[in-house]
Symmetry: C2
Subunit: 338 residues, 2 copies
DNA sequence: CCTTCCGGAGTAAACGATTACTCAAATCGT
DNA sequence: ACGATTTGAGTAATCGTTTACTCCGGAAGG
């Protein structure tokens, strides 16, 4: 038997010569008790190494101090970074996290959500929520990083996202500055709202420079993977003789594009400039190091945690929709200004 | 009010016209009940969307079907891959997971473990356990991927690890085959048991080829990071004129080494061959693609989950110590056989 | 001195499941 | 046809907390 097994609040109460209610009050610092009583109880707890049973507490309060995080692909370093930050910040607030990897499967996502509900989680963070994520209105939840397709502005949940439009704008502007005039765009087939916003930024930058937006320069990837991006690059290259820039919707795509260009013996950035999006930890170590848009993981996760905890505590939120600024990180995959 | 809020087993019982005990029996498939009753109850559950409250179940049974995973750094893709697989397999067995990132801090690890105990987790998986990880003997736990320093073979917990010695041997052998005669080793300062084993494999391979093991060729990194490895490479290169191979203890280190060599204008593999360890997802996309040792994530995670679940169910384990084979993945960072 | 109030602490009813006991009815063996 | 056994299903205790009530005694106020 471990020291943890047997000890419960009742035994602490007996040992300190008070009732369970008093012990509970001392532990949770609510209700009234004299300071002598408090000292006595604290000493007993200390000496016995008593740890309150969270499960019982959760049952009683219907709050388990666990936050569920729904994430499509924890292997993607952008998501992994986000999750790590969320976990750190939530833990500091006394919350544990359950990370649910959905592998982009709606099926699995539903199962996970059922499990989370059964566990009575205190709240849920949806990272890049799928189109169908639905959780009962009464459990606190925020959307992070991607706007659900069904999202409607005024009354829906809290939404926290990067300023994707500006990101797309900045990256495109950089390419144009680098002298690019024929820019291809690599995105995923079913562009999520993030990519759509980035695309708008791209169009704006083109328009501003008096360049036209040629639909034939947009290429859809069936899925976002290095290999797919590389294959697509190899496939399309012959048909676009004057290609001089590629705007990639993610760093992963950029890595695939770079790999493909290497195989084609195209030099970067002399012949073709490439930009990514996310600023993955490895982006600085690509060959060449990648010019990309950095998302502010700290701010994104901070806003998400803050909003969620306010919701859990029933406090009012000052804003339903947080847009976090992004920044351009210039490395060597784009030419110096010409 | 959500449909989930109000529903409890009692209401299901009323709706189906039976007692709570019967509903519970149907749900858990134990005890007796007629097939008509079962059908009726199932239909009510189906229609109402009832999800049993795990918290109450946990309280009653003292098993919460949650597994804690203690991991030092989820951003490391080797660990991330392991965690992902574990999560997937555990979920298939009906377990949720709580992922605890310790950031290599013993402090934080202790806090996490206390939380896990308070949550009454059914079991714990220590990935690359630190030197001090201690959890009460009576909660099922396995060590995965790294042997704790305090580990003692016969009576301690289950340990699952890769065949690191063979890995080190194979990588070194490959370097020797590629014509390398002056091989540097890059490892972390406080070599964990994995790296120690890899190092032994390295020595064996050297000995077998009649090469001597020069202590001056071993370089310690203060921490395992791309940048540290790159810096170290730049620092040491001038002092080793005839360097022709680098055995890196992880892929992360290899990427740093490659980056450093690029900056020194050394060609890989013509002038220097490099090997890694892990076969990270991106290893194939390094420039050049990295020759490395692949760890069998599927087998590692499978063995861990299987053992843990057997322990939880009180079944006997056939082996306390599982060693998973590794394999050499040849890419372009080593020369073709000469 | 009597009423009112309040600080301190205890009693017991939840929370939502599981499961040991019961018990009635149905089935069986002889 | 009658006792024995099996089957199906209900009753209620229990897991470890929290918290709405209750109660007592002393301080304050008139």
């Amino acid at each position: 038997m471990s020291k943890y097994d047997a000890l419960n609040i009742k035994q602490i109460a007996e040992l300190s010569g008070v009732s369970v209610a008093t012990v509970s009050r001392v532990i949770n610092q609510n209700g009234r008790f004299s300071s002598e009583t408090e000292a006595r109880v604290r000493r007993v707890i200390e000496e016995s190494g008593y740890v309150p049973n969270f499960v019982a507490k959760s049952l009683r309060t219907s709050k388990n101090h666990v936050i569920g995080i729904i994430v499509p692909d924890i292997l993607n370093s952008h998501f992994a970074g986000l999750v790590l930050e969320l976990e750190k910040k939530l833990f500091a607030h006394g919350y544990s996290t359950v990370i649910c990897n959905t592998n982009e499967s709606i099926e699995l996502e539903k199962k996970h959500i059922d499990t989370l509900i059964a566990q009575q989680v205190s709240g849920v963070i949806f990272i890049s929520g799928t189109k169908t994520c639905k959780v009962t209105q009464d459990i606190p939840a925020v959307y992070l990083d991607r706007r659900p397709a069904s999202y409607c502005e005024p009354s829906d949940r809290v939404l926290i996202e990067s300023d994707n439009r500006t990101g797309g704008y900045l990256a495109t502007q950089k390419l144009i500055e680098s002298g690019c005039r024929n820019i291809a765009v690599f995105c995923s087939r079913d562009m999520d709202t993030n990519q759509q916003a980035r695309f708008i930024g791209y169009q704006e930058a083109l328009a501003e420079s008096g360049l036209s937006c040629d639909e034939a320069m947009t290429f859809d990837l069936h899925e976002v993977s290095i290999l797919q991006a590389r294959d697509e690059m190899l496939r399309i290259f012959p048909s676009i003789p004057n290609l001089d820039g590629v705007l990639c919707m993610t760093d992963t795509i950029a890595l695939g594009v770079i790999t493909g260009l290497h195989e084609l013996n195209i030099t970067i950035p002399e012949q073709v400039s490439v930009t990514g999006f996310d600023d993955a930890p490895l982006a600085a170590y690509f060959q060449p190091p990648l010019t990309t848009i950095r998302q502010d993981i700290g701010a994104l996760s901070g806003a998400a945690v803050e909003s969620l905890i306010k919701m859990i505590n029933g406090e009012k939120l000052e804003s339903q929709h947080v847009v976090v600024p992004v920044s351009l990180v210039v490395r060597k995959s784009t030419r110096q200004q010409v």
